[in-house]
Symmetry: C2
């Protein structure tokens, strides 16, 4: 069965998954790289940057779940580009010529454009669709594999609120951002549909996983 | 040196330390007892209720730090009573004839009343004062011991914002309350003044401690 999975969305202790003041120069606004420093301290994260070394513990094990079993990603417009990218016909996303997805990626936007094929197997498709319709399209493209709900926080929240997420991995980083976009707004009682586990690691973060009750069977 | 300590404030994963709809019948509003179930699963918590049994692990170790070394508590009006307790001259707090504090307790309120001496060493004093002035009064009463900043969340936040807290122990409970009173509002960058540790336990909660940088020396 093809699952919808949210993989490592990092939030501050006060619940913000991105900061304030997003721009071309500041993809996470005033949060900078603080929410994701734990990723780039792992062997997997350093490998992404072409570097050796890094931790091989629990943080590394979690980030290595990013790709296996995933056949497509859905992301919000804000994960594809800076506010205003719609105005730039040449913009091909934050992710360089060979994006780290290596699958079809469905970008939710009210201003769709033609698909863009990148190196390494990533193709960006642009959809103006509801969460359920986008998930159906991504499932079709995923060929029986899982679909990653890639964020940002507003997109993840929309899929959670629609009851479409089977598995979620949230990482709580012990900083207080004070402002930005919250992951949890409007999700009262979400935990009742999931088995929830928490594990803190020596890097200081806490991994919280949500597994839809019964979906492990 | 006398420290100001926040001891086990429990918050939901979305940051609420109390629910919505506080009343005489519902001290934590719609949160009910869910934020504190972990306390009453420990040996210490069960002992408070005159029961045997309970867990003896990390959760128990943390709750046992409640009383040792504390010479006075400061609490907000909402921790002393339901909305409207000011109207009831006979109200002596949520805590029964022998409250679990066993020290002087300073209740911050804009409508002070005469002190109330309870059984077991607890005396409630009522103060209309700034956080700094209240802490000075509590320190005086604590006779060189530490002062517990007892909450609720608005009171803890006021003391944190004023830079008066030396040590804080927050417990993140993996539920989403959706509404209520947030602990973290307006505390951007708080972590920069503290060494922060996180540890998750088998009960599912995560203990987060803030120790003022340099105060361990």
């Amino acid at each position: 069965m093809s699952l919808a999975r949210v993989q490592h969305i990092s939030i501050s202790l006060d619940g913000f998954a991105t900061g304030e003041g997003l721009s071309h120069e500041a993809p996470f606004g005033h949060a900078g790289e603080r929410l994701h420093a734990w990723v780039f301290a792992t062997r997997w994260g350093r490998g992404l940057q072409g570097k050796a070394g890094g931790s091989g513990g629990v943080d590394d094990a979690f980030v290595r779940m990013f790709a296996p079993g995933i056949g497509a990603e859905i992301m919000g417009a804000g994960k594809f580009g800076y506010p205003g990218w719609h105005e730039g016909p040449e913009w091909k996303g934050w992710w360089g010529p060979n994006p780290p997805f290596h699958t079809p990626v469905f970008v939710l936007t009210h201003r769709p454009r033609p698909s863009i094929e990148m190196e390494g197997g990533t193709t960006f498709h642009f959809l103006d669709a509801s969460p359920a319709a986008a998930l159906a399209a991504a499932r079709e493209a995923a060929g029986g594999l899982d679909v990653r709900i890639g964020g940002g926080p507003s997109t993840a929240r929309d899929f959670l609120a629609a009851g479409l997420v089977d598995h979620m991995h949230v990482v709580v980083v012990p900083i207080l951002l004070g402002r930005g976009v919250r992951l949890w707004d409007g999700l009262e009682g979400l935990e009742q549909d999931y088995d929830v586990e928490s594990v803190s690691t020596p890097s200081g973060v806490t991994h919280v996983t949500f597994t839809r009750t019964g979906s492990a069977g």
